[in-house]
Structure formats: C-alpha cells, structure tokens
Assembly symmetry: D2
Homo-oligomer: 474 residues x 4
C-alpha cells in the first residue's frame, strides 16, 4: 500500500512490512517517508493554508460527511484491517469504526458551528461606542502523531478536527499499524480537498522528529506515551503542543454501588484489547464491606473471558501488540509478586499473549500501580473511607479519568470536586469515552483536550475585530 | 409621600393611607395615580425610548451600582419601612433589602454582558459568504405590577432588569405596600436616568388595567395571583406577557434524607412571613419509614416559633397582611378539618393573626392542598414509593418549585426529569431562591422567567445582521 | 390522498379537492378532519408526551436524518407536488425542497445540542455551597398552522423542531395546499416515532380554531396573516403563542451600493413566486443620485421576466394562488394609481395571473405601501439622507426584515441599530433567509423566532436543578 | 519598602534601590528575594491550593472588590508612585490606575461566572442515558512575571485572574518598577485571602528563572520581550505557558478614512509613554492619495507635543525608562537613516530622553520596522492597493494588533479575515485595549490570551462529570 503525500499515493525508497500480531503473518507492505517526502508534505501544506482557511462551512461539511458515508459503506473492511494489523478482536474493531464514523459526523456538524463571540466594549468611558466580534481562525499546519492501539479512531481525532478547522495536517500513524489510516487516505483522495491539505506518512522516529521541531508547523498533536510526549513539548519551539498521554486509571466501588454493574464494567475496562487502551482500568478500589464478594465474583468472571483468534466474531481477548510488550508486562507483574502482591488470576505469558491478570495486596509504588501498565493487568484493593479512596487515586503522577460506582450524591460531588483527573465517570469505568466529550488528562497524563469540538478549538486562534459604533445622522 | 411620575414627585387628587398590618397604625399617606398621570407616564416613557436604548454599558452599570450603594447605606431604614407597611418580621425585611442589593448588583453586571451571537450562514451554497451577528434590543415600554409580599425585591426584579435592558418602565406597586418602592424612587431620582424612564405609580385596579390593555406598552410583567394573571394575558393585545404567579409548592423527604436539615428547612419554608410567599412550602411528603419521627419533631419545633411584634429583632412570626386573608385561611383549614383532616398544630385565628398550622390526613382536592394557601399552613403526608411522591406533587394545576431531601443519585435524577415545575431544589425547600437564578413556574404558575439575566432577556428582542463577506482583492 | 391521524392514514366524512392554480385542473382529492378526528389526535398526542420526552438524542437524530434522506431521494417528486398545488414555478419548488432537507438536517444536529447551563449559586452567603443546572424540557403538545405559500418548508419549520424538542405536534396545513405535507406524512409513517406524536390534518377554519383554544395544547405556532394571527393570540388562553406573520418589507439602495447586485437581488425579491412570500420585497428606496439609473434598468429587467407554465424548467413567474387574490392586488394597485402613483411597469391582470408591477410616486398610507401586498407589486422611491430612508422603513405597523445595499460601515451600523425589524440584510434583499438563522418579526409582524434552534427553544421550558455541594469528609 | 512573602512583609539580605528615570533621584529602597524566600513562597502557595480552590464565588468577589475599592481611594497615590518609578507622565499613570480598578472589577464579576457546560452524551447508543457536566478547576500555582512599562496594570492582569480562578500566585515585578506592586500588596494584606496565596517578590533574573523551571508551578504567565519569552517556553517543562510579548504594530489609513480622527489617534498611539507600550503604533501605512496631507499635518502635530517633567499634570511626553534604551533607539534610527530613510521629525537624544521621531522612506528589513522599537519612533509609508497594505503588515515575525482607518465594509472585512494578528482595530490605532477584551498575539508576539475572562480560563482546567440518567421506577 502506497503512502499518501499531499494528495497523491507514492512509493518511497524504504519498504516497510506490517505483520499480524496474532499469528505473525504478513499483512501488507507499505513505505516509510524520508526527509524529502516530509519536506514536500510541509511545503504542500503551506500552499494549502489559504484555500483551506477559505473553505465555506458547507464545503467542509460535505467533505467530512462524504468520508463518513464511505466509512459506513466500508465498515467491515476497515474493521478487518484494524484486526489484522493490531490484533484487536473484531468486535472491538467494529466498534472502533463506528466511533470513527461518529467522529467524522460530529466534525462535519461542528465545522458549521465554529464559535464567534459578540462583546460590548463600552464598559468604561474609554470604550464608548466600541464593540467587538471574536472569530476563530485556523492556527496553521498541524502535525499529528497517532499510536497503534486505535489505528483508525485516534488518527481520525486529529484529521477530522483539522478539516473542520481549516488546517492542513500531516499525520504520522504508528509504524506498527499504518494500513488502516492509509485506507482512510484512499477515501480522502476521492474528495476535492486542496491537494496539500492532507498527508499520511508512516516514518521512522528520526524523520518523525522533524514534525516536532520544524518551525513551519504551528501545532503538534501527539497521542502516545508520557515519556515521549513530554520530551516533545520541550523540543517543540514556538508551536502549540497538545498531548494525549496515558495513565493508571482507577475506579472506586462504593458501598452503595450496583455490584453487578460494577463487575461487568470493570471486567470490560480492565481487559478489552488486552488493556492496551489509554484509559484502561488499571486499579480497582472496593469498599471493604463488599471487597470479598467483589473479588470472588470478579475472579470468576475473569476465568470466563473468551480468548482466541481476534478475527473471530466471538473472541473477546487476544494477544498483545508484540512480544516485547508482553515480556515487559510479565516483568512488572513479577516485580509486584516479589514485593508481596498476591495473584488472584492470570499471570501467565505465551509469546505475545499475556493472560488477563488480577493482583491484590499491591503497594502504590509497585510498577503495576504507579506506571501505565498498558496490558491486561488490574489491581484490586479494599478501602475504608471514601476520602481515602479518592486520595489513593490522586496519589501518583497521572490524572486522565477515574470511575466511581456509587448511588450517593455526596460521594459523587466529593469525587467530582476532588479527583485530580480530566474526567470523573459515575457508575462506569474510567475507560468510558464518547467521541464528542472533552477528553484529556492533567498532571503527567497530558495537556489540552480532544473530543471533536475541543480539538477543533485547540487548532484555532481567536482574533477580535474592534469597531466603533456611531449614531452619525446622515 | 408623593408618587413618582416620570422623574418628578407629585401629588394627585386621590389620597391613599397606608396602615401597619400588625397594630393598625397609620404608616404614611400617599396618592393614587389617575388616568391623567398614567397617560403622562406613558408618553414620557415613549420619549425616553431612544435615550434609554442608547445608554452605553458603563452608564447603565453606574446608575445601577449607584442605586445599589445607596440601598446599602439605607439598609436599616428600608427594612423598617417594609416591616411597617407589610408586617414582615424585621429579620426577614433585612434579608429582603440584602436581596434587593444583590438584584441591583447583578443587573449592573449583566448590563455589560447583554449577549450577542456570531453565526456562520454559509451552511448551504445559498448562504455562501454570508455571516450573521445577533444582538438584542430593548423591547419597548415595560409595565410592571408588583405584589405586597416583597414590597421591595419583587419590584426591583422588574425595575433593575428594565434599566439594564434599556427599557422605560412604569411600575404599579401594591396599594397595600407602596411606600418602600416610593423610597426607592427617591434614590432613582438622584441618578441621571432620562426623566421619563421610570415611573412608580400606586393605582386602583381600574386605572392599573390600562397597563394591561394600552398598545403603547410592549411588555407586561406581572407578579401576583394566578386568577388575575391569566386574565391579564387574555386582555394584553399584542404585548408580551410575563407572569410570575403562585403555587402550592411541595417537598419530598426521602428515606436517605438528613432529617435534622429537612426539619429546619421545612419549618422556615412553611412559616416565614406567615407563608405569604410565592414559593411557600405548602405540602410536605415524608417517606413512611420516617414519617412519625418527622411529624413528632416538626410539631415540637412549630410550638417553639417566636411570634410577636414584627419590628422586634427576635420575632420570627407575626400577623398576616389583613384580617380578610386570615379569615380566608381559617375557612380553608376548617374545610379540611370538616373533610377529615387532622390538626397537628395551630388552627387558631386572632384578628389578622393566624397560628402556624400543620395538617395531616388531607386529600388532594381540599383547598389547603389544591389552591395556593398563601398563609401559615402546611400539610404533612406519608408516602411509600418515590414515584408516588413525585406524582402527588405533579397532581394539580401548579408547577413553580419543588424540594427534595435525599442523598440518592437516582432519586435526584428522577425528580429533576419528572417533577413538573420550574425548579427542583435538592436538600432544601421549594422556598429557596437566589436572585440570579432562573425563576418561574409552568402550568398555572406562570409564563416566562425572572432572575436578573432571564428577566433582562424577556425585555429584549433579537435582531440579526446578515452580511456578505467577500475576499475582494483591492 | 388520506390524512395522517396519529400515525395512521385515514379518510373522513368530508372530501376535499385540491386544484392547480395555473390551469384549474384537479390535482388530487383528500379529506378534512372533523371534531372527532381532532379530538383523537389530541388524545393520542397526550399519550405520546412521555415517550417523546424520553427519546435519546441519537434516536431523534436518526428519525430526522431518515426523513431528510428520503426527501433527498424524492426531491423531484416533492417539487412537482408543490408546483401542482401551489402554482410555484418548478425551479423555486426545487429550491424549497432543498431548504426542507436542510431544515431537517439542522434539526437532527440540534436535537443533540439541546442546551444546558451550569450556574454557581454561591454569589451571596445565602447560596453557600449551592450550584444549579438548567436543562430544557419539551413544553407539551404543539399545534402548528402553516400557510399555502411554502407548502413544505413552512410546515417543516414546525414539525422538525417539534421532533427535535420531543413535543408531539398536530399540524394543520393550508387547505389550498395540503398534499405536499401529506406526502411528508408518508415518510414520517416509515419511522418509529410514537404513533400519537405526529398528526397532519387539513381542517376547515372552525375546526382548526380548536387548536387555538384547546387547553391541552401547550404551544400554538402560527404562520400566516397578521389579522388572523393576532386574534389567535387573544383567544389562546394559557398557551404560548408563536406568530410568524407578514410585512411590507423595504430595501434601501445607498449611494455606495453595487448597483448591478442591487438590481438583480431586488428583481428576485420582488417577483419570486409572484410576491407571495412573507418577506417579499415590497418597497425599494433608492438614493436620489442613482434613482433614475436604477429605475430605468429595473424596468428593463422586469420586462424580461419569463412568465408561463410553472411546471416548465425555465419559467420564473406564473399565476397567483387564486383569482380572488389577484383581484385584491389589482384593486390595491388601482387605489394607488387613483391617488397619484405612477405605473412604471405591469398593472395588468388575467384571471389569477397578475403582471410583475412597479409603482413609483406612492405615499406611505396607500395600501400597496402600508399593508402586506402578498403579490407581484413593488414600489420604487428616491430618498435623500440615509436617516430618512431608515425612517421611511420604520414608518408603519410592520417589522420583519429589511435590506440595505451599501458599502459604508457607518450606514451599516446605523441601519442595524435603528431599523425596527427582526433582520437587517446587508447587500441583499429582505427576502433573504437561510433556515438556521433566527427569523421572525417585531411590531405587527409577529412574536417569537423560528430558525431551527430558535423554534426548538420556543418549544421547550427551562427547569433548574439546585444542589448543595458539600465537602463532607468520609 | 519590604517585599511581600506569602502574606507577610519581609526584608531580605539584598537591598535594592529604585530610581526615578526622569531625574535620577532615589524613589525608595526595597529588597530582592533570594532562593530561600522563593522556596518559602512556593511551599506556602502549595499549602494554599486547597483553601483557594474552595473559596466560594462571593468570597472571591468580596476580596476582589475590596482591593478595587481601596485602589479607587488611593488612586492619586498609586499614580504618583507609577510616575516616580517609571517616568510615565502623570496623566497616563492615572489612566493606568483607572484601568487596574476596572481589571479588578471585571475579575470580581467573572469570579461568579466561571463557566460550566451541560452536555448530552447520548449521541450514539454507546452513550444511552449518559450526560456530562463540565466544570473548571484551578490549574495550580501560577507564576507571573511582569514588565516595567505598566507597573500596576500588567501585574494586575495576572493577580486578579489568579484570585478569581482560585490559583495561588507568585508575582515577580520588574526590578526597575517594583514599588507600585508592593503598594498593591499592602492592600492585599488587608484581605483575608489564605496567607500563602499571594507573594510579590522582586528578584534578580537568575532567581526568577526558578519560576520557569520549578515543577511545582503549573502555569507561567510572562509579559515581556519575545527573546526572553520564547526561551522560557523551551525551559518550562510540563507547565503551561502564557506569553504576552511585543510587536511592531501597524496601522492602515485608507482612502475613506476620517483623517482628523486618524491623525489624533496615531499621534497618541505612537508617542504615549515614549512608545514603551506592547501595542505601540510603530508603522503607519497611508493610502497614496492622502499620504502628503497626512504626513504634513502629522509632522505639525508632533511638533506640538508637550514634553517635560512627568509629574506635572499637562506633560504628555517625557524620558524613556533608562539611557541604555534611549541609546538603543538612537542607534536603530541611525541605522535606518544610514540605509536611506528620511527623518520627518525628531531624531534627537538627551540622556534617557529621546525625541518623538517620525521616519519615512524605510524598508521592511530595517530594525525600526522589523523589530519591536519600544521607543518614540514611528514610520510613515504610502501604499497603493489595500491588499498591499495588509501584506506589508503581515510581512514579518510579529502579530499582536493592527489598526485600520476606513469607512469601507469590504476593507474592514478583508482586514479582519487576512491580518495575521490577535486584534484588528477599526478606526483606532493598534494601541487600543480595554481590559476585558481578549488580548494577545500570534506568530512571535505570543501564546494564549489575557483580558480578564480569558486569563482566568488559561488558569483553569476543564473536568467532566459523566453520569448515567436512569428512569428507575421506585
């Protein structure tokens, strides 16, 4: 599959093979962009700046809805590509395509609703007769860097807002999973967007680093690991930086919780796509009065998870993205066990497959607690007071989302006021996300917000028009 | 005290005496406006339309803050006038002045924040290049009709928004309690508002009816009884009508409620100013498991209410506005008792004084349940399911506010989604109101909303400016 | 064609024939609803209240987009029905269908964006710890009454917002042009909206009057003539009333105007669909320095208008809705000529056809100036100062929209601040409208606003939830 | 004068003398904070995080209004301190105090209006029953670094929003002009803000650099030179950075301009406070048809500027902040003259005084054009087409504000759409600013926006609460 350079599909000097993480088979061969291709993409984007900015609402809407409708037609085909290159079970891959359809839909609608503001400026005599109109203008060229775990939708969360905002974008997909995005490029190439407005270029990390440092790029939007993300911020020069990083998301199961609901949601939050999700449910805190019942029933459910070939309809769990990551997770679990943690379930590895694993008796400083595990591991701990549970979650570097199962108004309000995260999810896991809600972390989990409208606003700059109203008679 | 006609204090042919409801003493003598004065006020208001509309934000702000600051200086004096003419205990009268200070403060601030909207209009090819700006313009002359029970603040809720919106206003205070508003007129006359912009005219009902029917008036804002209000709507011709009427507000005390909090709030909601409050707590529904404890403790608290001369600092309860109303309440209570209701407390009348009264074993169709009692009477009934309690409150003509004491998220959400009222107050009585919140009823309780910003918007009309943006090169 | 009663297509006792205004041929036979059918529709709507209110955003969206997509498929068929029953030239009928498609699209999108508000309520110590959430709830059953001139889109402006708001609606189309709306009913019947939620019932005026007076209906939304509309307001009881009435819209052509643009737009604004448009361009005021050139060129263009069979692709002008109206227009023009007006062009009638007519030397009190002509007549008058032109437009009962051709910032600002209308259109005729902009008149031209989002808001009531935030430790 | 460390006034080991730039006299002696004091300030701020976040609206309002009222009382005294330490003519110093009063007023009002958002989340079946509430929480400790040119108001633009947002703040005033801010600290110390919430610490640059690098600080808000600002961004680690830098603001005087207005505004924009203003009018482009008249009249007006002792009421112009800067300006002007520029007026230096200087025949690459001159120098150049004038302004690194004198709608719209700046000021100079409008630059002129509400929002983080609404029957 060729790569997408400023509206054209091209080959480059560097071939790149993509393998299926489940069975190691070759999925397809594509290419890596080099310095020359990147330079061409940037210059083409510069030339597209004016025509992108001038696109009327209805043209942006038409383009975005066209892509959305084509995705809907090719839903199954896209899902199978996701599964093939990422090892994500098909049922979740279909869900991801559905979410991308929704992301494009919302972007199309928001393209018509770019906000403006009217301000009276005559609040003091110095402003007598003055009024202001604030409108938003595209920030310039956007560079997007997307991860492997949602090969389609996390790229779409950069591309769709860029089109809505009127910004040219150069997107670097993960080298592990570039094919789905290149399939999307094929749809984009059917529209009449300005040629330079979209490039989708797999690259090695060195080449990709130019996206961070090049001064012609106005905004860097990165989704990936905290380590990489924060270094990029320091190297980004004058550009704006949007970081969607990970975390070690926690959930609190309070005394008044609906236990069956909590169990089902936690199971899905902990083990979907082997926990390779930014808002993977990593830590579960259960009120001590219901801890034993919760643990017992949870362990039983974990043992029922259907693992297997991700391409089969009824598979819920499969291998991780590669063996290196499975080994890393194995090491972290072993570190915990060596430190006194107790294994409730799982703890086995086979190649790139790691079993759904539940630990208890952990301590906050263990790697499985303090770092982003990005694997099928969850810890289960009792708590006594609700305040204590909130503090356990706040303890640490991250702050993405948190879940709280409760039916108590005071607990809900306390959690919202005090959990240091970007999102507090009541009666669901932190893993919950719909695509138009503001999404992003604080502390080490990131900077800025995505969620279509919010991403669009990050890609725009306000400009105020100040006018003098007179009542001249004439 | 003279009346305030288009910026001047004048006497008229009709003297009008104002008496103290507690001891029957003469408070002061003022005048009733006749047809000629009203005509002059309307014509002066017409002439002020242009200059009011043109006032810049900072001038509206300065005027409103001047009035606010003077009210703060004269706080005690205003409270004593309220107490003298309305019989409201001094502590509540002071509270009312404080609220009016806040109402003016918020109106001053909102006068700078009259909203505007920016709209892209190029959602279809037909709008290519078009954009819109929506601004709000004063609706025209406002007529305000205010009741006796909050002689200051309910008039201020019409005057302050009118100034903020740039509308001339003619205010008819209750003939029973016109003096406080005329004192306010004295402050207004110290500002440099256009002469015709404010008139405060006590009138008899026949003269006042012209405010309803005169086609030069653009908006009628009425606070008072449902019977009168709805008739006005039918007679109002082309003008907009804002009705703030009463109700038979109910409160639900759920099983998870903080009982002590519920008891204290209900006591105050039921008996403050003898229940002569639009959102008087008239019906209390208590979960059957806690009904007996609630009833027992509530009755004990009712017996502790300190009744006496309203001008004394520690008086919490005093006489009603007049003997006619006390007799009406007595009759309604007797009707209930005759129909099988049981008296928990109170039920005695002495002249215009009616005791704090608690009934139980009532039925929805009794007058004390179905009508607005506007007196110190509350009913206390048990319920079984929460849904049933919500239905009891919805049952009937009114829908102003409702209170719910609960700590259960599902009950809170169910109440918000299903109580047919303008406001659902969690863990407080329906009697709760702060002056900037949207306030008003549905069903027979009214039409439209007050609450400074909301009242301002009712007094304004949107107007859109549609422009063509071109990118002409020149 | 059967009528649409609470989800079913039914016949009634009263047959009703629809004729083609151009050639008098029978288009189709349908039925008029009687009292029994209306009663059934109202009771079915009551039953649908709960299920309509509970529909989630995505369900409302799906229904509205389904209807939108079907309209797109049947675009041509719908346009031909409009032309057949209303005599509207096909090119304009196609434009009307396109607008209805857009109206449904926007309603679908807005159904997901029903606003909510978060308010801190702790602005004074009395509100310490309190916060408020304002949400909007459907007002109840809506009655819509639509006119003949846009048989589809003006009905859609009531139906689509009602679905988005979650209100059941009973729509009375014009008896002259009921068929297009009944075709729309066929599409609606394919969706899974609750059965009682939509009824489309042609009725005679007497039966229809129950829509105005019945207390079970919460909102009356009427588009039609001022005479009828204002009477309805008086008879409407407690219900909310939204009136979209007509006017005598004026346009100003200033000295700095782009003359060619002004001429083309005025021609279309004056004569499209024989002026049978609420915002028909009825009065043109041209700066005296360019008056003669404008008049000369305008008259020449009027003579080129292609009149003929509305069903032909290139017809731009055809007959009026019926002969009675053509005769009325003829009489008004004759009244003007008798009073000293001069005929620039047109002035001839043939059956229901009335020629595109231009008058000059008119006076404000002539019927063709002061009343809504609703026919192919326009007046052309010179002005000297810009202020004078604005005053001429403001002079009179109406205030819907006004157009201003100018390139002068001060003239634009003066026009926006001083024209007493709902919309000021710069460099276009008052006849300009896109379907999502706020639209509606002041003065005698109406009450309230349509334009999808605005109509939705008229159909909803705010409700505030007040909560106490505590920081209870637990 | 002692420095203000976490609520207390303290001395340090390092004395610091402040001199009057006009006459070199000693104004007062104060101190520089060292590492120990800064550490104490940061730790105290950390401790204040919780209590600042919990302050209710009315408490923030009361504190901010208290400071505002005290500033109003001490207006003259504050202005004289500004003049003494900065050399700013008294009339402008009084203006600055007035602006700070307004900045505090607006912050007080906005503290009550921190936005919240209500979102339906059921746009797809995955969100069925879900809804979201977005609220904003203080970002953490703010570090503010303020410049010498507005010793009061540019510090207030950091302090007042921080209080409104609930963020502790450590402010470093310019070492040249620290006294005014320390006088403000005296007022702040009279309030009951938490002790650690505010520190005002003059420091040397090395100590101050810790404000940039310390990870406990969440946001750096810097106003100053581009060179320093952009380096700070690179060194800021994970913290958010707000940069208000300078520019080389340009103004366009179009053919349709009101010439007298343009001349007066340009004179003031170019020479107020010797051009030491971030939005100093540095470049004037005049349409060629009016260029000679403009130049002639402008030169005449420049010669009338009253220069002298800044402490006198009628002085409009005085010395620069120090001789080093005056010499720098002299060199830049000489570079321009050597390169072919022509001196229209001024060009003389006397110690720290530099004459109001007008140059013409300059080229874009000269220092007086391409860099921020921050002195009393303006260039005057003719242009032919309007597009060309816009391109001249866009040419270069900066983009803060631009002014356009025109009466042409198309020119206004073109300027707004195409000038690459944060603010386009129609019929006024780029130097125009009122304190509540969004203010800030793009390109090298900065990052983010101030203007009370906008600065508050930069200091807050959104957090979403996601809840499940059910209609459980109970």
């Amino acid at each position: 599959m060729d790569i997408f350079l400023a509206g054209r599909f091209v080959k480059t000097a560097t071939e790149h093979k993509v393998f299926n993480p489940y069975d190691g088979s070759l999925v397809d061969t594509t290419f890596l962009a080099g310095t020359a291709e990147l330079e061409e993409a940037i210059e083409a984007a510069r030339e597209a700046l004016g025509s992108m900015r001038e696109l009327s609402s209805w043209k942006r809407y038409e383009v975005l809805m066209y892509i959305r409708n084509r995705l809907l037609e090719l839903r199954d085909e896209f899902a199978r590509t996701i599964t093939a290159e990422s090892g994500k079970p098909l049922r979740y891959a279909l869900g991801e395509v559905d979410r991308s359809i929704q992301t494009f839909t919302v972007a199309a609608e928001e393209a018509k609703r770019l906000p403006g503001e009217y301000l009276s400026l005559d609040w003091t005599p110095a402003g007598e007769g003055k009024e202001g109109i604030v409108r938003y203008f595209p920030v310039g060229i956007v560079a997007g860097i997307a991860p492997f775990n949602f090969p389609l939708n996390l790229a779409v969360h950069k591309i769709a807002p860029a089109i809505a905002a009127g910004c040219p974008i150069i997107l670097k997909p993960s080298s592990t999973t570039p094919l789905t995005t290149l399939k999307l490029a094929a749809i984009i190439s059917e529209t009449n967007l300005p040629a330079g407005s979209i490039s989708i270029l797999p690259m090695d990390r060195t080449t990709g680093n130019s996206l961070v440092t090049d001064p012609r790029i106005a905004l860097l939007s990165f989704t990936g690991s905290p380590e990489v993300g924060w270094k990029m911020k320091a190297a980004a020069g004058k550009k704006k930086v949007l970081l969607e990083l990970g975390g070690n998301a926690g959930v609190i199961v309070g005394k008044s919780a609906d236990l069956q609901l909590a169990l089902e949601k936690c199971l899905s939050g902990a083990f979907s796509y082997s926990g390779q999700v930014c808002i993977h449910t990593q830590r579960i805190f259960v009120h001590k009065d219901i801890f034993y019942e919760f643990s017992y029933r949870f362990a039983a459910m974990v043992n029922q998870i259907r693992s297997g070939d991700p391409a089969l309809d009824d598979t819920a769990f499969s291998s991780m993205i590669d063996e290196a990551n499975a080994i890393r997770v194995e090491n972290w679990v072993n570190e915990a066990l060596a430190g006194g943690a107790r294994l409730v379930s799982g703890g086995r590895r086979q190649g790139s497959w790691y079993a759904p694993t539940v630990l208890t008796n952990t301590r906050d400083e263990m790697l499985v607690c303090s770092r982003e595990v990005f694997g099928p591991v969850v810890t289960l701990e009792p708590f006594d007071g609700f305040t204590e549970a909130v503090q356990r979650i706040n303890n640490g570097r991250f702050g993405l989302q948190a879940g709280v199962f409760t039916n108590d108004i005071q607990e809900m309000d306390f959690a919202f006021a005090n959990l240091e995260v970007g999102g507090v999810i009541i009666n669901d896991v932190p893993t919950f996300r719909v695509d138009h809600m503001p999404y992003g972390g604080i502390k080490d989990s990131g900077l800025g917000r995505e969620g279509v409208k919010y991403a669009i606003m990050e890609m725009m700059e306000p400009r105020i028009l100040v006018k003098q109203r007179t009542n001249r008679q004439f």
